[in-house]
Symmetry: C2
Subunit: 301 residues, 2 copies
């Protein structure tokens, strides 16, 4: 999986501080997650081809997570897009987008579908042969979901040397990948595990923004390779978390620790902290493997 952070700051759009948006590339798919104002500009800057995005997942209807959506859709139309686009987000997102298109008399030529969410339990919202995406209900001031992106278990990997040594015809390789035993050129049955290796372990990425400290999500994100968890504040401003339903770096790290994740990425920083390293220092007192989101930063895992 390859994650590109387009924007990772909370609140209003500023030069050098874009609002939340991320691109996740997995098994050839390109998912856009949240879409703050100016996201289309960040997509261009980070050389993400618009045409490759087929799904957009919106966490909630606060402006810093979706005000860039209508501009992006309009641009796709201008660019003559033909491929379909599906938007996942809270109930209401369809009305907002359609009203703006109607009043600008814009007729979107490509298939634009909406999947509106209002469930308070995790829901499988996207699935194909390689990937599935499930909502992670969060605790925020308004209805809000994170998203869990999971690769499916891939095919077994053929050990070419062993397969050749066992004299297996190339025609059987697909069956080998699928886990079957196959006959060799002399008609002898070859045990699958003798000539193949386990598939690569499927990767998991959990996106959790915006949310108050919410241990209920731990069960769902257990053992993910990478967790993005918002950390709007530091512990010194913990009192603001209550009011605004955000988390501190320490709280994010506590979730990461208890969920035994591989790595934790922090982001959604409040503009009040000039030094983002403070977030890392606070989180690392609880959980070692902490990374800091930055606009334009890429993470591969």
């Amino acid at each position: 999986m390859k994650l590109t952070v387009l924007g990772c700051h909370s609140g209003s759009l500023r030069w050098g501080a874009f609002a939340t948006s991320q691109v996740l590339e997995v098994a050839g798919r390109v998912f856009l997650i949240d879409c703050g104002e100016g996201t289309q500009m960040q997509l261009r800057k980070n050389k993400v081809k618009f045409s490759r995005i087929k799904q957009i997942f919106i966490s909630h209807l606060h402006g810093d997570h979706f005000y860039g959506l209508i501009g992006l859709i309009s641009t796709l139309q201008l660019l003559g897009r033909e491929a379909s686009l599906t938007l996942y987000g809270p109930k209401g997102i369809k009305e907002i987008i359609e009203l703006q298109l109607k009043l600008s008399q814009a007729y979107i030529q490509f298939p634009l579908a909406f999947v509106e969410l209002d469930s308070l339990s995790p829901q499988l919202v996207y699935e194909d042969d390689k990937v599935k995406v499930t909502t992670i209900p969060l605790r925020h001031r308004i209805y809000c979901n994170g998203y869990l992106f999971e690769e499916k278990l891939g095919l077994r990997r053929i050990d070419i040397d062993k397969a050749n040594e066992a004299e297996i015809d190339f025609a059987y390789f697909n069956k080998l990948k699928q886990g079957f035993d196959v006959p060799n050129s002399k008609g002898k049955r070859i045990i699958n595990a003798d000539v193949t290796k386990d598939p690569f372990p499927p990767k998991k990425y959990a996106f959790c923004s915006d949310t108050a400290f919410y241990p209920k999500i731990i069960k769902q994100i257990k053992g993910v390779d990478m967790l993005y968890h918002e950390s709007t504040f530091l512990e010194s401003e913990q009192y603001l978390c209550e009011r605004t339903m955000h988390s501190t770096a320490k709280q994010a790290a506590t979730i990461a620790l208890q969920a035994k994740v591989g790595n934790l990425i922090l982001g959604h920083y409040s503009g009040r902290y000039p030094d983002k390293e403070e977030f890392r220092r606070e989180a690392q007192k609880v959980f070692e493997k902490v990374l800091l989101a930055e606009d334009g930063k890429k993470f591969e895992f």
Copy 2:
């Protein structure tokens, strides 16, 4: 008057090519004209204080002219604004903004007023003691207005040397400015014109975007000091103007010539032209005083 171009490109938001937005400062007022995506970022970059903007004039509901509005309003709320804000724009603008605020459960604390427009004739939409603003109905694919900003005639200017020589008490200066004759310290009547100069001629600025070639506006913008007229295309792409209801540089210059304006600013350039000087060259064949808008460029007049 001082005009700051925040963005002057047509179509989608790109790095170094912001969509339409301008700030006009006149007699201490700060008007925002159109508000494409990312305008709040450009306001910060150009050091325009958000708090000084009390009126926003939107020409029409195509995205490149107003998608930045909801983000700006949300930011004003985050900044704790208390002063009122009035939005002028086509009918429908209120529904769009209010729907987004409702779905994000944002309760705007400052007085936010809407003046929705649907008249096809020029309308006086704003007036105070120093300035008035009138719509300029344009010809575009959807309902669209330009705006004419006019200073009112100011006070007469006292010639201090002559007033002192005539022995006029300071207490009479306000009456002098208002054009009255006044008595001097010896009781002699002093003729106003002998000790004052005419007021500075009031300045006029006309903003005309987006529009097809539309000579009907000439009467209304006659003699303005500065005309901003869109020039999306060059004459070589004149056929695109028919379909999209935009103007060429030559057409903009023709309007400027016939309206006998002081200067013409071109903008709303299509992204297809790498060299903006082509717009100037084409326009100057018709009208000499041509200026080119650029993001961040300031014009004083």
